[in-house]
């Protein structure tokens, strides 16, 4: 009887042992922000793991290549020092989400928003709700985000053409700290995708990855 009980115990325990999913706590976790409003928040899902891989291969930080999806109301929102959002369309946060995001960003979090084309007016509207007293200001080319690891003397690289405008990097500063970085008219996320997706020249992909690495590193250090 005892033997049987022991056997049952082991059998029950076995799956639990196997179900341990490895989690490497030594790596920084980054996340993709899921938002409401109907926009395609999931558009750059493969892009982020590529960015993480690039960072691990080339920078002295370790980032988890398993990119999480996080909503503003998730409990583990604050576990991610860097969250990324992109899309082509509408973005809408509920009131609670607005407050939660503000709390996250003012408590040390960092949001990188990348306009895939079409998200601009919605993002601006929503970020204004989160930071009503803070303007999105264009960062000068000598800002450290453009030089923290790789040098971009002319600011953001232009990855994809949208409306024929120059690429711009905007930021929201909260008490002197850059908490939101918004890349517009460049589509960095597309640049992080696998080469066969957009068939961009390798140089362009590299530029996008390098800039992404800069932003990620900046978010971790500042």
């Amino acid at each position: 009887m005892k033997k049987l009980a022991l056997l049952v115990f082991i059998v029950l325990l076995f799956p639990l042992l196997y179900s341990q999913v490895e989690k490497d706590y030594s790596k920084v976790a980054i996340a993709l922000l899921k938002y409401g409003g109907g926009g395609d928040w999931y558009g750059d899902r493969n892009a982020l793991p590529n960015l993480a891989r690039f960072v691990n291969q080339n920078l002295p930080v370790r980032v988890s290549e398993e990119v999480k999806i996080v909503s503003p109301m998730d409990d583990d929102l604050f576990s991610y020092p860097y969250i990324f959002m992109a899309g082509h369309g509408n973005v809408r946060f509920t009131e609670e989400e607005v407050l939660r995001l503000r709390k996250y960003l003012t408590s040390g979090g960092f949001l990188h928003a990348d306009d895939d084309y079409g998200m601009d007016k919605y993002f601006r509207r929503e970020i204004k709700r989160i930071f009503p007293n803070n303007e999105l200001v264009e960062l000068p080319f000598d800002h450290s985000i453009y030089h923290i690891y790789y040098d971009f003397p002319h600011g953001l690289p232009k990855i994809h053409e949208h409306d024929g405008k120059p690429p711009q990097g905007f930021g929201i500063f909260y008490k002197g700290r850059l908490v939101v970085f918004y890349s517009y008219e460049t589509d960095l996320g597309d640049g992080w995708e696998d080469p066969e997706v957009h068939h961009d020249p390798e140089e362009k992909r590299l530029q996008a990855l390098k800039m992404g690495a800069n932003i990620l590193l900046y978010s971790l250090l500042y």
Binding site: N133, P167, Y174, H198
Partner: protein
């Protein structure tokens, strides 16, 4: 005293006398000699002007001689006195007595001899005798006076001689008293050099003089005395000497020295070559001619400080450059270095300005500001007031600060506004130094009452960058632009020249128009017409190609082998087909542009737009992979020149070409229908737009008494315009009616009635009258007419809106009726097939029922063909018909044919099976038709995208939640086994929902996306969870499921993407860096801070809401008060 002593004494006295006489004589002669010598020397001196050395020597000699003679005389006399001389020994003296006193003399001599020889006398000589003898003589001598013995005549003679000499000397000297006086004086001053008196003197009249550097000097010499024939002039320079011979003709001799640059020494002289003349050279003496250097500027340097606005660095130029080039307003500092100390200086400009120099030692400087072209030179003065000659002239040349330039990059040509009311401006500005302002200058062209130009600033962040590309979205929404308005704008840019004033340049003018809604519709309509024409052309060409290929097919059968011309013919048709495909792709692009334009200007509703989008996609995909493969196969077959292969490939190609033609035809049909739907939509929009404008006009006219004439004219124009629009609308209705004739089901009758009714209203007439009244300045009448027109237009709008609803319903009904008919037919065929299937169960080979069954099956085949053609017809009306329907029909058809064949061959079992499969296919087909109908009904449109998308979103969201929970449990979260089971159940639910969705959307498999693999993954996940396993693979599968769900949504949305969203690699842009505002965009708000503080206190959610509301109100109040 002995006699001898007495004789000695006497002799001594005699000797003394002789000595004295001798001495006196000698002395007198010495004096005479001296006098003579003196006289001689003086005479010689008088003639020859001895040198001091000679004189000293002569005088010395004189005194030496004198001294020598005197000394000699004294010596001789003393020697005589002492008897040292033989000549005046005792004996000789005794001889003197002989001459005068003969005997005594002789006796004396004897005495002397005796006494001298006494010692040596040996005998016979008595000493006493000698003594006596001596005494006697001595006694005798006493009586001889010495004076008588000695001849004193030499003294007398000497005296006489001296006297004579003196006399002569005195006589001569007395006669040439001056001569000798001078000579003796000169001799007396033996050390002094006395000039020999020259025959003439040369006197330099200039003497030491100084001249200025480069000057000419006239030398002149005066000759006093006997003029020489010539004289020499020596001018000695440091490096060379001029020696010139001048003929003397006058007592004054002149000589010119030109361009004196160095100090020189000049001397005029005459050289004596005659040895008998005492002088060797007569000179004027050396005069010094000092050349005084003028002050001279050795170095210039210029410091050019450009005006601050240029931000140019200052430059320093050296004197080698005689030009100073600078921008107006530049400050030029001139520094000079002179060869000597400067007392003062000034710069003299050609323009008349004079600037004093600040001097210090040999340096000087001055500043001036450049305003115009000019020239200047610098004069400096030394302490003596001497200035520099021929100063260098410097030219001041103004550099031109060029005009700025401005180029409009976008819009490229004329621009049409759309609903966004934004003109995307891109400009390129350049200037040598920077800008002070940039403006957009615009004016309206059609507003006759206000043709002024207006300006708004074009923002330039960095004004100092000389070359910039700037982009600015100019929102013209606030300018009060209405459809039909035209304006032009240009960019003016000013440079930052603060010295001469900013210079202005302007760009080309850009014409901007806000097209009226009618124009927009017209453009769309025109484009669509062109597309239809093009599509028809393509169809025609396809038809021709088909004929050619058919002909080729027939000939191919007849010919034994492939002929070259056949090959060429087929290749040509292949090429044509490819080109047709390209043309259709272009059509697709054009349609996309139409869609975008329509979207931007909100021309059509969502439904029409989605139909157009669907059409556009269909156009794009018309060159199906099967057709392309068929073309490729044919091409390969032709290359192989294998007749059989070509025949097969040609057949295959023809089939696909047929499909291509049919598909194109179908799309054209749908397009025409959509166009009609568009036209109906357009009518409603246009009438509503006109109503809005008319209402607005009427309101203005209501209080129109105080309107100015120009305003009334404008309103008249507006009214007329609405009138034209109304006419145009009526034309549109007429055209739409004509188009509707092709489609009997469409409510053309109703439209016709409405058209007639509107015509009867004669709205245009009211509008024209209103316009006319306004022109006649009769606003009241105009108002009446305008109001009447407005009322009628409202009525017309209502009618059209009703018609629009009717139209939608009718078109929907038409499609649904067709669907129902088709479904009914399909069910009938299914029923028949079931019967056939049932019949086949009970029969065997050779049964006589086989024939009947075959007949039934043949009828069913025929009915199936009819069904297919009905479906084709329906496909030409809506996209709701899924290709799967056709596929199932095809399968059913094939199986039915197989039944017939097998029955003929006697294979009953096979035909039984085929019959069953045919039945299954027909049933599947019926299901597909039902799903399509459901879809159509649920979406209210032929597509159903929205619902599908929403459902997918929900499923994705559910899946995501499930994934997260699985992850948590996988980490050893609480719940364990039971929780996993619950998760399995949830996954099962999602799977079922997805399958149902799949079934629903089977009418549009392309829209469904890649859902096929999702279900399989879900099944595996369910299996794992049921087995209480959460493996890495499980998690990965769940992730994959979610990704696919999301990708499926994405593929739907991708249909709505603009063409330009297709990724196009961007080109890097180099531009000036923006700058951060000083506040980093942070505007501190006490309210905000307080709110955050309040919310951090941990109040309940309801209370937090109240707090937020309170702060919101406060914030609004704050903003209002700020405004």
């Amino acid at each position: 005293m002995s006699g001898y002593d007495r004789i000695k004494e006497y002799l001594g006295r005699l000797r003394k006398e002789v000595a004295q006489i001798r001495f006196r004589t000698g002395l007198i002669l010495a004096v005479a000699l001296f006098v003579l010598l003196v006289f001689l020397v003086a005479t010689l001196e008088g003639f020859f002007y001895f040198s001091p050395q000679v004189k000293k020597f002569a005088v010395g000699i004189l005194f030496v001689v004198l001294g020598g003679v005197v000394a000699g005389n004294i010596l001789v006399s003393f020697a005589i006195f002492r008897g040292w001389t033989e000549r005046y020994s005792d004996r000789k003296l005794a001889e003197l007595l002989i001459s005068k006193y003969g005997k005594i003399g002789q006796r004396l001599i004897n005495v002397i001899q005796l006494n001298e020889q006494r010692p040596s006398l040996k005998s016979g000589v008595s000493s006493a005798l000698i003594n006596v003898y001596t005494q006697e003589v001595a006694d005798e001598l006493e009586d001889v006076p010495i004076e008588n013995v000695v001849d004193s005549s030499p003294v007398r003679k000497a005296g006489i001689f001296l006297a004579v000499v003196i006399f002569i000397v005195l006589a001569v000297t007395g006669y040439n008293f001056r001569f000798y006086k001078a000579a003796l004086t000169r001799l007396k001053n033996a050390r002094t050099e006395y000039e020999f008196p020259l025959p003439f003197t040369i006197l330099s009249l200039k003497g030491n003089t100084q001249v200025l550097y480069g000057d000419t000097l006239d030398l002149s010499f005066e000759i006093k005395g006997k003029l020489p024939k010539q004289l020499f002039l020596s001018v000695r320079f440091p490096e060379h000497t001029i020696l010139d011979r001048i003929r003397v003709e006058d007592s004054v001799v002149t000589y010119e020295l030109r361009n004196l640059r160095e100090t020189a020494f000049c001397e005029a002289f005459v050289v004596n070559k005659n040895i008998f003349r005492r002088w060797s050279r007569i000179s004027s003496g050396v005069d010094t001619i000092r050349v005084i250097s003028r002050p001279e500027i050795l170095e210039y340097s210029f410091e050019v400080i450009p005006p601050p606005y240029t931000r140019l660095e200052k430059a320093v130029h050296q004197s080698s450059n005689r030009e100073v080039r600078a921008y107006p307003g530049s400050l030029i500092g001139v520094n000079i270095l002179a060869n000597k100390e400067i007392e003062e200086g000034k710069a003299i400009f050609k323009s008349g300005k004079v600037y004093p120099l600040k001097v210090k030692k040999n340096k000087g400087k001055f500043d001036f500001r450049v305003r115009e072209n000019d020239e200047f030179l610098i004069k400096i003065y030394d302490r003596e007031g001497i200035d520099n000659i021929s100063p260098i002239k410097y030219v001041v040349e103004l550099l031109k600060d060029g005009y700025p330039s401005v180029k409009v990059l976008s819009p490229r040509g004329n621009f049409e506004l759309n609903e966004s009311m934004v003109v995307p401006l891109g400009i390129k500005i350049s200037d040598d130094f920077g800008f002070s302002a940039c403006n957009i200058v615009y004016r309206f062209l059609n507003k006759v009452e206000n043709l002024d130009t207006f300006k708004i600033a074009f923002p330039i962040k960095e004004k100092t960058l000389p070359l910039q590309e700037l982009y600015y979205d100019w929102d013209v929404g606030s300018l009060g632009i209405v459809p039909g308005d035209e304006m032009e704008f240009w960019i003016e840019v000013y440079d930052n020249d603060v010295v001469s004033g900013p210079k202005r340049s302007v760009s080309r003018k850009v014409f901007v128009r806000y097209p009226t809604i009618i124009e927009l519709f017209s453009q769309v309509s025109e484009a669509e017409e062109q597309m239809v024409d093009e599509a028809l052309d393509i169809l025609e060409e396809v038809e021709e190609s088909k004929k050619v290929l058919e002909e080729s097919s027939i000939k191919l059968i007849k010919e034994n082998e492939i002929k070259w011309e056949r090959k060429v013919q087929i290749e040509r048709e292949l090429k044509k087909t490819k080109e047709l495909g390209e043309r259709i792709k272009k059509l697709s692009q054009k349609l996309d542009e139409v869609i975008q334009r329509s979207k931007e200007n909100l021309l059509f509703n969502e439904e029409i737009l989605s139909k157009l989008a669907r059409l556009q996609e269909a156009f794009e995909q018309i060159m199906t992979p099967e057709l392309q493969e068929a073309m490729e196969k044919l091409k390969r077959a032709i290359e192989s020149m294998d007749k059989e292969e070509i025949a097969r490939a040609l057949q295959n190609f023809k089939i696909n070409q047929e499909r291509f033609e049919k598909e194109l035809d179908r799309m054209l049909d749908i397009f025409e229908r959509v166009k009609i739907e568009q036209a109906v939509d357009e009518m409603v929009k246009r009438i509503n737009d006109m109503v809005k404008n008319q209402d607005s006009l009427s309101r203005i006219l209501e209080g129109a008494d105080s309107l100015r004439n120009t305003a009334m004219l404008r309103l008249a124009n507006e009214e007329e315009k609405i009138g034209y629009d109304m006419t145009s609308l009526e034309d549109l209705m007429k055209t739409t009616l004509e188009d509707m004739q092709k489609f009997p089901v469409m409510p053309s009758e109703e439209l016709n009635n409405i058209s007639e009714e509107i015509k009867r209203m004669d709205i245009a007439s009211d509008l024209n009258e209103a316009a006319s009244s306004l022109r006649n300045m009769n606003p009241k009448k105009a108002f009446n007419r305008a109001s009447s027109a407005a009322d009628k237009m409202h009525s017309a709008a209502n009618m059209l809106e009703e018609f629009q609803k009717t139209f939608k319903v009718r078109t929907m009904e038409e499609v649904l009726v067709d669907f129902q008919n088709i479904l009914s037919h399909a069910l009938q065929i299914s029923k028949e097939q079931e019967k056939i299937s049932g019949s086949l169960k009970d029969i065997s080979y050779g049964s006589d029922k086989i024939q009947d069954i075959m007949v039934q099956q043949s009828w069913n085949v025929e009915n199936l063909s009819k069904l297919l053609s009905e479906l084709s017809s329906l496909s030409g009306k809506t996209f709701a018909v899924s290709p799967r329907v056709g596929k199932y029909i095809g399968q059913a058809y094939s199986k039915m044919r197989s039944v017939l064949r097998n029955l003929q061959e006697g294979s009953v079992a096979v035909s039984r099976r085929d019959a069953r499969e045919a039945l299954r296919s027909i049933n599947d087909c019926s299901l597909e038709i039902m799903f399509s109908m459901e879809n159509l009904l649920s979406g209210g449109q032929a597509t159903g995208f929205k619902e599908y998308l929403k459902r997918l979103q929900q499923l994705a969201s559910q899946q995501e939640g499930l994934n997260q929970e699985t992850m948590k449990l996988g980490l050893g979260g609480e719940g364990g086994r039971l929780s996993l089971q619950r998760l399995a159940a949830r996954q099962m639910q999602i799977k079922r929902a997805l399958e149902q969705l799949q079934r629903q959307m089977r009418g549009n498999p392309d829209q469904v996306g890649d859902l096929s693999g999702i279900v399989k993954d879900m099944e595996k996940v369910i299996e794992d969870l049921k087995k209480n396993r959460v493996l890495r693979k499980t998690i990965q599968r769940q992730q994959r499921i979610l990704t696919r769900l999301l990708d499926a949504q994405k593929s739907i949305r991708a249909q709505g993407y603009k063409k330009k969203r297709k990724s196009r690699t961007g080109q890097d842009v180099v531009r000036e860096s923006p700058s951060l505002p000083s506040d980093y965009g942070e505007k501190s708000s006490l309210l905000r801070e307080n709110l955050e503080e309040a919310l951090s206190k941990g109040y309940s959610a309801d209370l937090e809401k109240v707090i937020r509301k309170y702060f919101e109100i406060l914030s609004t109040e704050e903003e209002k008060s700020e405004k």
